[in-house]
């Protein structure tokens, strides 16, 4: 039973999907896939694979991407699907103690 669970665990680890916001961030900054690929040192097709979540990057590549966008890794990558940014902003706006001027920042 333990062995079976271990196999299942390894299998689930391998098949775990990594969601990301690369496409949104790239479009927001008006950067082409080729330009982003050059900056982070990968083939431009790899950027497409990353954006479609068909390839999970190594920690080094994930850090390179977060450094390029100037954002924390957890903001760009997640094991759970991301909520739309507008929804997150709306939720943030309705949180206690967060004013409009802080959101604007």
């Amino acid at each position: 039973m333990y062995k079976y669970n271990k196999i299942l665990y390894i299998y689930s680890m391998k098949s775990r999907m990594l969601y990301n916001r690369i496409a949104i961030l790239r479009e927001e900054r008006n950067i082409s896939r080729k330009e982003l690929a050059e900056k982070i040192g990968v083939n431009f097709q790899t950027v497409g694979y990353l954006e479609r979540s068909e390839y999970s990057p190594s920690l080094d590549l994930a850090l390179k991407i977060s450094e390029f966008f100037g954002l924390p890794v957890e903001f760009i990558f997640s094991t759970k699907p991301f909520k739309p940014l507008s929804e997150e902003l709306f939720e943030l706006k309705h949180q206690k103690g967060v004013g409009n001027d802080r959101i604007d920042q």
Binding site: V42, Q45, G48, E54, L61
Partner: protein, 140 residues
């Protein structure tokens, strides 16, 4: 300059390439054992032309040949991962195909394998990883 080909067209190209390779090997064997004539020679030439054209379209034009034969330093982590996976499967497939051919010739034909079959197997060893990538990947 590499050109992107759709997955369906790539798969058709791979099947044509393998059929042409198989045709060359089989007709050379027939010619050698039954005697050469103009029909067999023409068929072999046609298969060779098909083999060269499908090779050029599938592997040279798409850049797959270059990718498979390039150093790891010039590839990114995804390409290395894809290449390693393709090499792993192609080693297994190549071993099975080679053993199959050798046993067939030794058991059923009772003779040694011919030079064209050896050349075909060497060609296969080089194109198998590239064809596995071309068959499976969305973009190459």
């Amino acid at each position: 300059m590499t050109e992107s080909i759709s997955k369906v067209n790539r798969r058709i190209g791979i099947v044509i390439n393998y059929l042409c390779l198989f045709g060359v090997v089989v007709f050379f064997h027939i010619g050698k054992s039954e005697g050469w004539n103009i029909v067999i020679i023409s068929v072999i030439i046609l298969f060779l032309i098909g083999l060269l054209i499908s090779f050029w379209i599938n592997y040279t034009k798409t850049g797959l040949w270059k990718m498979i034969h390039s150093k790891s330093e010039s590839l990114d982590e995804r390409q290395i991962q894809v290449m390693h996976s393709a090499l792993k499967y192609s080693y297994s497939a190549f071993a099975i195909i080679t053993l199959g051919c050798m046993y067939y010739f030794v058991i059923f034909e009772g003779k040694q394998i011919n030079v064209v079959l050896v050349t075909g197997l060497l060609y296969l060893a080089h194109i198998l990883p590239a064809s596995i990538i071309a068959w499976n990947e969305r973009q190459v």
